[in-house]
Symmetry: C2
Subunit: 345 residues, 2 copies
């Protein structure tokens, strides 16, 4: 192996082929009631009895989601807490308080990350690169969102009862945790093979009730870049899976990819469009850090373990707004991070 | 070089000896008027004429600080923008909007990070590890804070004119940007030799007007761990430099270190206590992501370049609160990340 700095790892302009195998050894998903009633209801590790998870506030409830998810994932991994060198974590709340108050008790060195709803992809990318670079044997990644804490943070108090347009998405109450390792194990659910860190893409859209459209350009940019860097076409993947574009964003993504000469409609799936069914009144679909994270843990990795999918490009998508930037009339830039997963059974 | 995953890199429990030289090739600091009037006034690259930096809002002004600092740092590095593979960035505002709106135009893949006022240390740690692991040749790190946007985000509107107790710190208006590289150059200001990623440390303190005391336990934990992992004593360093503990936090840190059997008083410096002088009415000192970042760029690296300091432990400190967690009666946990710098001339 050539270890000259930067020598063999950078392929193409932006993507990285992970130079040493990095495995997702274990994962866990903890969700709220609405998610439990959805199509993946039976696949989650824990479905809460009520969305406060025994806490006094929505923020504490979200912290509890993270704590539970990480605890279960570590348990499944067969590792001791002390063997996990770094914990990569983030959420949607201001100053990432769901993570700060959820993960302190683990006493694992914490790398706080923010990528809005793309954070799951960002944490896994950083963990994979650190493991591949020999900086750690094992690392953990946790992200979460909660419908009620997100509405309070970004939109209106729940008691206000505002009407949501059909382009709006419903923030998923859930947390997904992943244990990544450089050491092969029989437990491994999939392998991380390639990474494409996203750029900020801003088409100037300003409608926070249509986040799918705001994020679609970033998803298109990252997917296109990933395929170009590795010289592949959409059909080389069993699935190309975005995080939370919803039905409006999906259409925009497909159109933008067609403009670039690529039809991804046959292999594209959006976590936000799968996590709820039509009867659940989620409008354009699910969203939030938790949406892609729990779908990855509960559904995507299950398909890969069972050999139904061999190669998947997982692209969580984030909208980089805050209520302050929105109220000040700023646009809503997007970002999307691509993680290429391959079957390892 | 042994490339077995995790083989030679982990030294001690938590710290990492950076296995391949990583250099700080260039850096820049952009600050506001008050910082320009302080002791380091002549050392900063840019001192703004007014704290709005020509913008309509405080948030946009903070974004402008980041944009200017990164632009200048890239210029000094002699690198082209395209040669910088990753941009690690974060700030104190909810959803890190100073970074999201300040850095989009650079079109460099963005890794968003959150470590409160410790973010400068976190971004440099991640960039150094990725470079040392061969995932990039060059990477950039940017952090910022702004007095007015931080007061609005965490405390009271400026117009309210609240009184600040003497234990309070003054958020630094400033941004520091750093270009890290795995390729040696004559420009290099210092080398990154060791890293200690912090854990969340929560002593249960709840006074947001005394952040120094809230963060001191985390600083003590990281400094103690760093010294223990590398089997060193405080006098092995020319300086051990915390980010923004201020005068109250410094006393707490010294006491806690003495309890652990280590006297750091002879080598300790706190950026927050140096950036303003007594006449500037900053009370316990300066604080914010920008405080440690601009002091590192303008003052610390200058001392190292001039050979006055050979080995420095740089430990930015962060308080992991939000106004929501504060208003809900939560404690203020701290975190501190240690970056060991050595002279490379």
């Amino acid at each position: 192996m050539d270890t000259t700095v930067g020598a063999i790892f950078a392929q193409g302009e932006r993507s990285i082929k992970v130079p040493v195998p990095v495995y997702i050894r274990a994962s866990a998903s903890v969700v709220g009631t609405k998610e439990g009633q959805g199509p993946f209801g039976d696949c989650f590790d824990v479905v809460g009895m009520d969305d406060k998870f025994g806490c006094d506030t929505w923020e504490e409830a979200e912290s509890t989601l993270q704590k539970e998810a990480l605890q279960i994932a570590i348990g499944k991994s067969g590792l001791k807490k002390d063997e996990i060198k770094y914990l990569f974590a983030g959420d949607l709340l201001g100053q990432s308080i769901a993570s700060s108050f959820g993960l302190g008790s683990f006493q694992i060195p914490l790398v706080g990350m923010y990528g809005a709803c793309s954070t799951c992809g960002l944490t896994m990318s950083m963990a994979a690169m650190l493991i591949a670079g020999g900086m750690a044997e094992h690392a953990a990644c946790v992200t979460s969102s909660h419908f009620a804490s997100a509405e309070k943070e970004f939109r209106f108090p729940l008691g206000y009862g505002n009407q949501r347009p059909l382009s709006a998405t419903w923030t998923v109450t859930g947390s997904g945790a992943f244990i990544l390792s450089g050491v092969k194990s029989e437990k491994d659910r999939a392998m991380i093979d390639g990474l494409t860190i996203g750029k900020i893409v801003d088409f100037g859209l300003k409608d926070s009730m249509n986040m799918g459209a705001c994020m679609a350009p970033a998803a298109a940019d990252t997917i296109y870049q990933h395929l170009a860097d590795f010289d592949r076409k959409p059909s080389d993947y069993d699935k190309i899976i975005t995080g939370d574009l919803g039905s409006v964003g999906q259409k925009a993504l497909w159109d933008m990819m067609r403009e670039k000469g690529m039809d991804i409609s046959k292999v594209h799936m959006d976590c936000g469009m799968e996590i709820y069914d039509q009867s659940q009144d989620a409008h354009a679909g699910g969203s939030g850090c938790g949406c892609s994270a729990v779908t990855l843990s509960a559904y995507i990795l299950k398909q890969m373990e069972e050999g139904k999918w061999k190669r998947v490009l997982f692209v969580p998508t984030g909208a980089l707004l805050s209520k302050t930037s929105f109220n000040e009339g700023q646009s809503i830039p997007g970002i999307a991070h691509g993680v290429e997963l391959v079957n390892c059974k």
